[in-house]
Every structure is written in C-alpha cells, then in structure tokens.
Symmetry: C2
Amino acid sequence: MIRLYYAAHTCALASHIALEEAGAEYSAVRISFADEEQRKPEYLAINPKGRVPAMVTEQGILTETPATLAFIAQSFPQARLAPLEDPFRFAEVQAFNSYLCSTVHVAHAHRMRGHRWVDDPAAIAAMQRKVPETVGACFELIERKMLRGPWVMGDIYTICDPYLFTLAQWMEKDGVDPSRFPKVSDHRNRMSERAAVRKAIAEELA
Amino acid sequence: MIRLYYAAHTCALASHIALEEAGAEYSAVRISFADEEQRKPEYLAINPKGRVPAMVTEQGILTETPATLAFIAQSFPQARLAPLEDPFRFAEVQAFNSYLCSTVHVAHAHRMRGHRWVDDPAAIAAMQRKVPETVGACFELIERKMLRGPWVMGDIYTICDPYLFTLAQWMEKDGVDPSRFPKVSDHRNRMSERAAVRKAIAEELA
C-alpha cells in the first residue's frame, strides 16, 4: 500500500488527487508545516529534502511531484492517466509537469519562501513585489500556448490536470486575477467538481 | 531526424550528450544568447518560453530537460539509458532529474538570472551573495544522499548522469569548491572521459 506524506495547501495535493483518480489503495499522512514537522529527524529520514510530497511505496520512497505523478500513471495503467504507449506524448506530459515544477511553482515560492534564495529582508520584499508579474506571465503562457482544453493534453484527462489545478489554486494569493485566464478558470471549475478532487481536498482540510 | 536547439554553457548539454549516448540521428542548432536569438520570433515560434533546450522531433516539439531526456531514453531503448521496464526505478530517475531542474538549476540561476524574480539591483546582488550557500547545499545533498556511485543510479548509466554532469560544471563559477564533494568530482571526471561527452562538448564549443 502507498503512503503519501502531504501538508495542507501544498503541491502534494496533485499526487493526492492522482491517487484517488487511479483508484489506488493508499493512506495520506499529514505533516504540519506550522509545527515544522518537515524538519524533524523522523521526517528527514523519509525525505532528506524536508519537503512534501514524499510517497512511500513497496519498492522505496519517491519525491518530486513530476516523478510521483508519473509513477502513479505507470503503476495504474487501467486508470489511463497518461499516454503511456507513446514516448512523445508521454514526454509532452512530463514537459508540462516539469514547467509547473521548475517555473510556475518556483515563481510562486518567491512570495512565501524567499529566504531560500536571499537573507536580506529588503530583498525578500522585492521578490514578493514581483510575484504577481511572474506568476501572471506563467499562467498567460499556459492559457495561450499550453492548455489545449478541455483538459491540459486535449481530450484526455492526465496527470497534468491535478497538478495544474493545484498550482492554479494559489493564483489569488499570488496577486493574479484569474479572470485574465478563461481557459484556466474553466479548467479549475471542472476539476473542482470531480469526485477525486473533492475527496482529496476534504481529507486534507478535515 | 531530431533537431536539438541549444546554447553553449546551458543545460541543453545534457540532452546533447544523451542523444550521442543513444546513437540517435540528430542535428544540433546553436542559439546565440549574446545576440538574444532566444527572444526572436523565429525561435519563439519553436519554443514560446524563449529558453533552451528545444527538441524538434517527427511528432512535434519538446522542451524541459527532464522531458527531453525521458523521450530519448524511451525512444532508443536499445541504448538502455533508463530502467524503462520498472515504473518505480524509472520514477527514481525522474525524481533525480526533477530535483536538478527545479532546485539545483534554480539555485544556480539566481546568480546570472536574478532579473527573473526581482527588479531591484540591490536584491539581485543579495541573491548572488547567497548562491554559493544554496548551490553548495544542493551538492551536499546529492553527495550524501542521492549519488549512489559509480553512476547516479548505481551500477547503471542513465539519463541522470549527463544532467548531473552538466550542472556540476557550473559549480566553480557559483562559488562552490568541488573538493567538498569527492563523489560528484569523481563522477565529473569519469563523465569527461566518455566519447559522447567529448563529442557533444566539442560540437558546442567549436
């Protein structure tokens, strides 16, 4: 059985939704960032990076959302969460998720986690000021060039969808007006209605 | 035939090496960052992100190094550049490459590309000051917890190896002393001797 370590309001939600969509047997274990549980030795033994998600499988531990999502898609092929039979189309899925991980999530992280990259409080404030612009530019590109509709990859629902949904949830707090992005907003609305999404969110906020 | 768009001294080198290791038929097309070719309409039509690498395949265009590397490994299975038959081990490869992309490369980028996240020159300087610490911490984790040796994934050479080699090349300019990391340094030395690595580097610097 899979064990997913998550914290509320983090990118771990994407893996949580994907496990639900896959019909996987799993348990979800909450890590409290408020209590800094992610820096305690018990958790660092699971994920030495001190981040979420971490996914404990029968074969070992996985981290990094693009990897946990790819693992879920490949381990539950009957759920058809990625075009597994076609290396090009599978790589398109990986490219989208890699962009979310290394560019969109990173742009967002400069609002709350600026201390990762600077020590000076004035520089942290300067970072925060630019977040609406950088996160907005990411969603502009997603809206215009990447989100095919109705799902990210077009007609098929994939592991890109819960990941986009998860990061799009942060837009308002990042100072970005969602009404600028009708396709992304429509995607968010349709995702919110899925049973898997409702169940994962209810479990995380319970 | 595959066409790889690269710029010298960038992460595109990882895909370039992997194409060589795979025995792929490909051509490499240089983009001059000095001439800002990556922002010209001709290139933005290929990659609207204005970054490298971009890989033009017979099925379409791919970006993001973790995705181009996974595509190369899956498209040339005889080269055995990833444990393709095992979803867990393949996800481990993806997790390592995702860490390089979203954490190590991002830490490094705060030295030369701080304008992505702040406008204030003092904040850009503050970012640069912390790069030796943040990049050093990444390689500390890789040395202690991730690089199994002799290759990243242990006894098998994978698409993780050219990617680690590429980013490890930037360590000195990031103000990090490579002698702190004997395993990473040994990996760099052994990578430098591979024919595929020599050929890719020679082509990029010609």
